[in-house]
């Protein structure tokens, strides 16, 4: 008798399957991947001023769009689709098989990671060729970018799974989840310059990961001279890392506790 495949092995297979399913939903693929670029085009044409010497609003906005992408393709996407899978009964069916919950989580994380990578490539390439986006030249900035993407993907995934127990049904999930994300985007300095927001908004935003992801991405895409214009007069890179890691760990344990395979 052969052994049951390991949780990691099944997680990788789940990931491949999730990505295959995702690529077959053409409308949502196109929309998910192109939406950040469309927003960049709109905001780039509305706000043409430079916000600091050598820093255009588009440049500032790209940092926010990459960070939002992490929240959209992880948290938002999962908190909406998992309740739908639960309604369909496909989660209950999975529960009846020897596939462990860890494999399901790994599969979702891989899906989020791949859709995030595609989204970032499109956004940066589009921004570079059409909107005069400056790419960081420094290798250390790309290193920061890489750990932000990995940590951001992982925490966004677990928080999306954790939040998936909140919507009562798949049909209503989008109405519950989307406002949370949009409000967070406004508070976290994605659409506006963070330092121009009211202090209380800044303080609320500082609790949640999106503000830190956005600030981290600014440290990648804006010149170091801009750090002096941040609230703390610094990029706060170490603090960003710790806060994101804390959310990742908290999200992981909450999602393990609250994850539901079926509605009742």
């Amino acid at each position: 008798m052969n052994k049951i495949p390991s949780a990691l092995n099944l997680g990788l297979r789940r990931g491949a399957l999730e990505i295959k399913q995702f690529t077959r939903q053409r409308e949502s693929v196109v929309f998910t991947l192109l939406f950040p670029l469309i927003l960049l085009a709109i905001f780039g044409s509305v706000f043409k001023d430079t916000i600091a010497p050598g820093v255009t609003f588009s440049q500032y906005f790209v940092a926010g769009m990459v960070a939002s992408g992490l929240v959209n393709s992880g948290f938002q996407q999962l908190a909406i689709t998992i309740p739908m899978e639960r309604d369909y009964g496909s989660l209950k069916r999975l529960r009846g098989t020897p596939m462990p919950v860890a494999s399901y989580f790994i599969g979702k994380a891989l899906l989020v990671f791949v859709s995030m990578i595609l989204q970032v490539i499109l956004l940066l390439a589009g921004g570079y060729f059409f909107f005069g986006l400056n790419m960081p030249a420094d290798i250390s900035k790309w290193l920061t970018f890489t750990w932000l993407i990995i940590l951001g993907t992982a925490s966004s995934t677990v928080l999306g799974i954790a939040f998936s127990c909140v919507p009562k049904s798949g049909r209503g999930a989008s109405a519950v989840v989307s406002p949370v994300v949009i409000v967070l985007q406004f508070f976290s300095g994605v659409f506006f310059i963070f330092t121009q927001l009211p202090t209380w908004m800044q303080q609320v935003a500082a609790i949640f990961p999106l503000k830190w992801l956005t600030q981290g991405m600014r440290s990648v895409f804006l010149p170091d001279s801009f750090a002096a214009s941040e609230v703390a007069k610094s990029w706060e890179t170490g603090k960003t890392f710790i806060i994101l890691l804390a959310w990742l760990i908290a999200g992981f344990f909450i999602s393990l506790r609250t994850f539901k395979w079926s509605r009742d």
Partner: protein, 283 residues
Amino acid sequence: MNVIEVAGLRKSYGDLEAVRGIDLSITKGEIFSLLGPNGAGKTTTVEILEGFRTRNAGEVKVLGFDPATQGHASREWRNRIGIVLQSTSDAGDLTVYETISHFAGYYSNPRNADEVIQAVGLEEKSKELIRSLSGGQRRRLDVALGIVGNPELLFLDEPTTGFDPEARRAFWSLINNLRNDGTTILLTTHYLDEAEALADRVAVINHGQIIEVSTPDHLGGRSSSMATVTWRENGELKSIETQNPTALVSSMSPQFAGEIPELSITRPSLEDIYLKMIGHANE
């Protein structure tokens, strides 16, 4: 050893007692059918056995493990079980083959995906997306996913809902083949003819209790019950209930020149017996 062993099983939802003391033993290789009206406690019982629900009281052993506390044995245990739930659907962006071969990968000793597709009669749909399947074809896919892991024990909950008569016959022969391979099957169904065609034993459950466990042809005293002889005489349909239909017909036959018009001898169907039992229980 019995594959399923249940004693004194109880389950309440708030004030409602859904299962009120059920005992069951199901032996290896048999097809055991649970019959009962909606709300009788069938699904609750089965979901407790499948490890989907907790219970309030009683002993439960499925393949030697308590489904509520198998803990680390859980994956090993699930590896030996197949479940076909009452209704499952999904977005359907995968093909039949992709879905079945993916699920096969969850198990240590799966069946070949193509063989399973053939067994449920979906060969022609193998490369089609699930979203293009009809209701009955989706149901056959559900069954395929339940058996692809080569289970020792298979739970079937209303498996043939939405099947046309031909598909049901094909499905029955599939289930018979599984039995011949030694699979133990717990079948929940609304169709009495299905239970009669497949089950070695049936249990009738109502109001959370088992009324009777028997073979389909002995349930409710069916084999010893009266036969009804019906015929037409002087333009009128007549019928007599008797223990001795053969003697009755031979005694009648001299009165008629040749054939007795519209003669029939019937015994109560499983459905008649079942409805009578449920009716009694309701009083």
